[in-house]
Amino acid sequence: MLKLSLNRVGDLFAKIAEAQALYLPVEKAGQVDYDKWTADAKVSMDHLNTAKSAKDLFFPQVERMVDFKMEGKNIEIKPHALSDEKFVLFGVRACDMKSMEVLDKVFLAEPVDSFYAARRMNGTVVTMACSEPEESCFCNVFGVDAAEPAGDVVTWKVDGELYWKALTEKGEALTEQIKALMEDGDEAKVEESKAAVREIMGKLPLANLNLAPFQPEKLNEMFNSPKWAKLSEACLGCGTCTFVCPTCQCYDIRDYDTGHGIQRFRCWDSCMYSDFTMMAHGTNRPDQMQRFRQRFMHKLIYFPSNNDGMYSCVGCGRCVSKCPISMNIAKVIKALGEDKDE
């Protein structure tokens, strides 16, 4: 294990950015999001959850897929080049790292989504263990250890030092680039900090959510639960939960006429929107209740059913803090998991 004084992370970032692009949590207009590092970027080393999750780096909110030129009856197809930017993504929390496992199941399943695969191949992820989890956190429920994230490299902030440990070949290669800045670190210090974080995680209000009732064989029972009506009653269908969610992966494919040609792009979409399944002859989910139910059933039953029990939620808590009507997956898990028909 290596370490570096937190006073010198600027040097670390500069060194990384010499060889490839570096994205990390940057504060802009009061909001922290992943952004490209520059010498004067206001890097946030303490902020827990970026507004948009790390999925934006691999499955961007908008991605151009193909261009067309229309001339009379003729069409010219110009596939948009796959992203070839080599980059390091620094400061990813354990929950967002877990979300990449979820997204991999979708985008790297055959037939592979080459847009996602290219970004995944070109990216090296440096995670950062949490030191001060918040009340909205419940990653432990999904088997995520906030104190020990996965990633190509994992880092810990302890007593003014940044501890650094490579976990994969990509991580080793990155470590080689920055080794000269580092000195040997004492693992015992990190262990102490991990224990402290785990203790906090266990005491958080959502730490004991029970997932046991959410089993694929309960699909129809859960689907037909009378509780969905009440749970979804106040849902505005705004889609905020979907956009901040690190695992939501539904997308739309649309064409934009630039005046000089057509750009076909894909963009994040939400199953909570009324036109998500709308066809010329109607929609199969006309009510907000049905659309609300779809989102949670997908995360808690359908996705695990197709992916060896892996839930499509990582407990990051973004929906808990961002939903304008204070509805969230934690409340859904609680309500549906109970036996009472309230």
Binding site: V66, F68, I75, P111, D113, S114, F223, C250, C271, S305
Partner: protein
Amino acid sequence: MNNIEMQIPMLGVVTDIRRDTPDIKTFRVNTITGEGKCFEHKPGQCAMLSIPGVGEAMFSITSSPTETRFQEFSIKKCGCLTDWLHQMEVGQQVTIRGPYGNGFPVDTVLKGENLLFIAGGVGLAPLHSVINYVLDNRADYGRVDIVYGARSADDLLDLKEIQERWMHEENVNVHLTIDRPQEGWDGKVAFVPAFVEELGFDPDCKVLVCGPPIMIKFVLQSLTKLGFEKTQIFTTMELRMKCGIGKCGRCNIGDKYVCKDGPVFRFDKLNELPNEY
């Protein structure tokens, strides 16, 4: 990483346009050279057709895989993209990608069986591919019954082919019906489900059904009365789709993605899914 991105289309050219009914046209698509098929497909599989800037949508491939010269799509005019397709002319280039979905199990569970096809309206389109595949491989299948109904005689799709080919094939019985009496029509007037019951098929066959959801629902009731099991009956579904490869989430029902796990489902399997289609 795969070299072929399934979400990027190729070019095709429309080489023939046929008006079948007042609101259904059949479009013939060839590769950009004007000859050959853009790709091979199985009966019941679909393709994404698009006019860039207008829209892209999933359509069942109406022609049989045994048709080596081209692919055809029977398309009802009912929305933004289909309106555009209906006013285009021969020679128009389109983008096409596919094939998508599972198709009907013509080479496995349907092989060697007696087959009963039941279609309503434009629902004949996906079955058309299977019927011609079966007729082109006649020795591999038993008796074929085709029940086909539409609102009026003018709305019957592929009538010429039905009368000139299907009705003359050996061991093939075609039963046509229309919803309301019409001058010049001396055939059957009945809704498809009632007609199926009246014809009283023996449950010694496999059934392939496609049509409006309400027709499918009542056909299923009729077949149950006649002693058919859900495991004998197959249908093909239609839902909003974008990617075609089970990723964009649009056609998700329960733990299935209609674009890749379907669109063909056996009825007992369909019944296991949440009732949301």
